[in-house]
Amino acid sequence: MPTFKVFRYDPDKNDPPYFQDYEVPDHKGMTVLEALYYILENLDPTLAFRSSCRMGVCGSCAMHIDGQYGLACETQVAALGNKITIRPLAHMTVIRDMVVDLDPFFAQYEAIKPYLIPKNAPGPREYAQTPRERKKLDILVDCILCASCYGSCPVVGTDEKYLGPHALLKALRFIDDSRDGQTNERLAFVANDSGIFRCHTIFNCQQVCPKDLDPTGAIGKLKMKSLWAKLTGKLKSSG
């Protein structure tokens, strides 16, 4: 029976954060999220965590599971040891137990304007895109905004203004979209002093992404694209 060592923090009590042990009877195929539900329903109704879809789609159950960021609903208990440590995502204020304040995460996401800004005003027909143009986006559209990459990024931890791997990956998703008309504006934005050039290419984000996306690679591409845009005169210094 594995023991879950779970991070606990309740701001309403004046106690500092602590870890609490729970013994959870496991079964074949049990996920960490199921174990947390077992604790909630049978051992401790005060435990707080987020979840919704339970199938790796909504991204709400991301946490730090035994030394690695990931989705609780997609992590098998059997793949972990007998003592499993659960902590909330890093770099964000803990609201309670595993629930963190995601406002800064989404503020940075919104800052990159995560929506299509077409070249021309909409016409009577949809914006056409060839299969090849669409294929370019395949490795960029699957992000479920779980914040695993954000929690694992040391630059996010020290520099609160840094845009973060999630926002930068999404920025490339729109820059690479043949229907978008704001490529240079977007490149100028991500190349600001809190953007792509703050990335130290540590690869944590790539390693923890539960969807096997590559934010590090996306940031690398953005660096080259913005540099090229600058060298070809599409971006100009504002002093």
Partner: protein, 120 residues
């Protein structure tokens, strides 16, 4: 129309890579010229005089080593600054550290140039 961009980071990022490439190339060439292909049996152990003779053999080395000094100073200090910049500091502290870096860089480059001048 060109879009305005306010970022110094792009240039420092690019020069960090360029200077890195140069330094990698420099290291290989330097090892080749002074160490790997230096014939210890006939010319004896490497000495200040051997290095001097090697370097005096062509004007190319002069340019090469005079480039090496600013490149390595830039590469080292810019790398250090990139780490320090992770910790967002109040503007004044940041300016102070940057100024100290510039002074240190200038001192290192001047010392390096004087040393090279004696060598050639």
């Amino acid at each position: 129309m060109a879009v305005k961009i306010s970022s110094q980071s792009m240039w420092t990022w690019m020069f960090q890579r360029l200077s890195g490439l140069f330094l990698g190339f420099f290291l290989v060439t330097h090892l080749n010229v002074h160490h790997l292909f230096h014939d210890i049996t006939s010319a004896g152990l490497i000495s200040f005089e051997t290095v001097r003779t090697n370097l005096a053999s062509s004007g190319f080395w002069k340019v090469y080593y005079f480039l090496f000094v600013p490149f390595i100073v830039f590469h080292a200090l810019n790398g250090l600054w990139a780490i320090i910049a992770d910790y967002r500091m109040p503007g004044t502290l940041s300016i102070l550290i940057k100024t100290a870096f510039w002074i240190f860089a200038a001192a290192l480059i001047i010392t390096g140039f004087f040393t090279l001048k004696n060598l050639f």
